[in-house]
Amino acid sequence: MSVLLPILLSSAAACGLTVILAAALLVVEKLLVNRGTCVVDVNDGERKLEVTGGRSVLTTLTDEGIFIPSACGGRGTCSYCKLEMTAGAGPLSPTEMPLLTAEEIERGLRISCQVKVRNDLAVTIPAELLSVREYRGVVERIRDLTGDIKELRIRLVEPEAIDFTAGQYIQLRAPAYGDNPDPVYRAYSISSPPSARDGIELIVRLVPGGICTTWIFTMLTEGDEVVFNGPYGEFRLSEAGGPMIWIAGGSGMAPFWSMVRHMKQTGHARPCTYFFGAVRERDLFFTDELKALARELPWFSYVPALSGPAESNGWTGETGLITEVVDRHVREAGDLEAYLCGSPGMIAAAAAVLHAKGIGEQRMYYDKFE
């Protein structure tokens, strides 16, 4: 016992010292991290936010009701939350470097989730983001459109209405679940027309191993409350009145499903041919509805096409890659506008076909899956 006593005493002293040091560190951290009140100047004096320092610019802005697109929950991986910071952001951090190009660094862009508000700071926020809001809603309907695509209908609770332009998207919040410790946001185009202001519809394709889509496909049920923010994006119909072609595949249907119904409701008669590509017939959806619209609206035609091996169920429509189908159908560009929504590969291939027909880059509009 006489041998053990000094050992026990020294262990107790070491533990006590550790506790004191830990407490001291917490106090110091509290003092250093909390930078007191700082002023965030938005758009050169347009708004001045008095905020508590110490948190990231992204979180600070979110708390002030300014929503910046961000998919990774502030972990510095998605780089969507880039903002121009003209003063007070401090030196570029190593976590930002890989996410910014030399040109972006030159322009003063920063990854807002990786920059802490440590003092007064000036930031430039695109005007359209200042009208973005957070919405709470309830899932009213979930239905399968194909084996790996679902449609969600979300009825708004607070605020009770949303204004958006056909073609825009929202960011849906997937809560922490399972091994995913933090909420994440993922972008989905709104597929409902803007006239239905009391809610939104989304078309979601399952991403293997995806955080948000796995939650939607396996956990989300009708009646659940959800949170999203938006609307975002500049993919919308131009004000030109000339003929258009739309090209999409898979969940790239969403913005066009919104646009065509919006055009019908508002009497916006503008010649439009919609090319939709799928691999197999079972991957097509809204076919009956779109064919019915094509019969009803003299300015609208719908061309679904299958690129997969022929099945023995009597498909008599177009076959081949959607780019080949477009190549066969579009004779000359004239004043044609093209709207494309889908994977970067599909968009690149379709753009090449359209360029070859003389459609300039200035008349092509993209909504890439990225």
Binding site: T77, G178, P208, G209, T213, L321, S343, F369, E370
Partner: protein, 157 residues
């Protein structure tokens, strides 16, 4: 051994729920360096390199992506490949600015029935970092399987 700060940052980004739901390490409890070293040794034994495997996987991936989801024959008609597209891009856990589409490719040898399922990011991980992902991970590629599908293990026979 305790990971270095850089390795810790990479491991943090490989954890489930950070860049993707299941992460990159699966059930593999080995240190990252051991995973990398073991796969490199396997390749040395097979007489091929990360670059060779990545080049073949990348070529198949590009051909499959260009087919927009339709099955396409690759490697001179010996293999079939199909790309399943998905929205969004995923960054590299090494934080080296690489970002790749989230879809997946299935490459099948109809003669043997052997198939590889991998992502565009996996091609980058192999080429730039010699990383085939941890055992038990959804997109783990066994170097020997890749070499066998592309017949890289038969080159000197």
């Amino acid at each position: 051994m305790k990971p270095s700060p850089t390795e810790k940052r990479i491991l943090d980004r490989m954890a489930p729920g950070v860049l993707c739901r299941e992460g990159f390490l699966g059930t593999d409890a080995r240190p990252l360096q051991e995973i990398l070293d073991t796969d490199r040794s396997t390749l040395e034994r097979l007489g091929c390199t990360h670059e060779q495997l990545a080049e073949r996987l990348g070529r198949v991936c590009e051909a499959a992506m260009a087919a927009c989801g339709a099955p396409v024959s690759v490697e001179g008609g010996r293999l079939m490949a199909e790309y399943r597209e998905a929205m969004g891009q995923i960054p590299c856990p090494w934080a080296d600015a690489a970002r790749r589409p989230k879809g997946e490719v299935e490459c099948t040898d109809p003669q043997t029935g052997r198939s590889l399922v991998y992502t565009p990011l996996a091609v980058h991980l192999i080429e730039a970092h010699g990383f085939y992902q941890g055992r038990g991970s959804r997109y783990r590629l066994e170097p020997a399987d890749v070499a066998a599908v592309f017949r890289l293990d038969e080159q000197d026979e």
